[in-house]
């Protein structure tokens, strides 16, 4: 890949990291606040989600239109369509971890970049979980 492409990819990651911090998703209480349906519910995550999904949907439609006009690189979407036990089971395990830790991959990597010591512990454990999943998924 050309250097310019690498810079664009890095800029995309950079934008995500800045957005996650400014949206406060790096704060465990914001994540836990979203799933605290029967207590002190905090709408911050859903407000962030709405902004992100709306803009991303626009980008998605634009990307589809560009692809129809023959633009490259080709769009690389997941090919799996079936809703199966692995999808829902994996999401359920993810949900338990989400409630326990009040963070997820993006916010944790952003917090790690910002020098939060706990993020190092979480990310190390998460890499272990990904490798374990890799074995099970095979």
């Amino acid at each position: 890949m050309k250097l310019l492409d690498q810079v664009v990819v890095a800029l995309s990651g950079l934008g995500l990291g800045v957005a996650l911090v400014l949206g406060r998703l790096t704060e465990p209480r914001v994540i836990v606040g979203w799933i605290d349906w029967f207590g002190a519910w905090d709408p911050t995550l859903i407000v962030f989600f709405v902004g992100a999904v709306l803009v991303y949907h626009g980008a998605y439609r634009w990307a589809l239109a560009r692809e129809r006009r023959g633009a490259t690189p080709a769009l690389c979407f997941p090919t799996r369509q079936r809703v199966d036990a692995r999808l829902l089971g994996g999401a359920a395990v993810f949900g338990v971890g989400w409630a326990l830790g009040g963070t997820c991959p993006g916010p944790a990597l952003s917090a790690l970049g910002a020098g939060a010591p706990w993020a190092l512990v979480f990310v190390a454990a998460m890499l272990g979980g990904l490798l374990l999943g890799e074995r099970l998924a095979r």
Binding site: D5, G13, G15, L16, R24, D36, G101, G106, L109, W118
Partner: protein
């Protein structure tokens, strides 16, 4: 002052940055998927490192703008944080995505699998939170 409008704008920035990756490289901005591919050392995966580096750098830049969004000390115990990380990694690998890939990119392109994954990890997260509160460890 941290308002819902600012959170919405931060979400918009996330959507735009994720959209940039789709339009420029044709890739889904799913953090766990990108991390998993880097762990598997997938061929032509150099862009993954650029993206992850950008994400962490974005966290650092974000924390310079909003220092109070990064908590130095995580509110839960170390053991719980490790368990959370393991489950998040495992669940994201088995369920083929996390809060960014399924949550924003998947829902943003109206994927049924992703929408069901989000509904699952949110409701299981809410249920887990209730159980933790009832157990006195919320």
């Amino acid at each position: 002052m941290h308002s819902h409008l600012q959170t919405l704008a931060a979400g918009g920035l996330f959507g735009a940055a994720a959209g940039l990756l789709l339009i420029a490289r044709g890739k889904i901005a799913g953090i766990s998927g990108i991390l998993g591919g880097a762990l598997r050392r997938e061929p032509n995966g150099g862009w993954r490192y650029s993206f992850l580096l950008g994400l962490s750098l974005g966290g650092l830049i974000g924390s310079a703008i909003a220092p109070d969004a990064i908590e130095r000390v995580h509110p839960t115990s170390l053991a719980r944080l490790v368990l959370a990380g393991l489950l998040i990694g495992l669940g994201a690998r088995l369920g083929n995505g996390c809060t960014s890939g399924h949550g924003i990119c998947g829902v943003g392109r109206l994927s049924l699998r992703s929408t069901l994954a989000v509904a699952t990890f949110s409701s299981i997260g809410a249920l887990t939170h209730v159980c933790l509160e009832l157990g006195g460890v919320g």
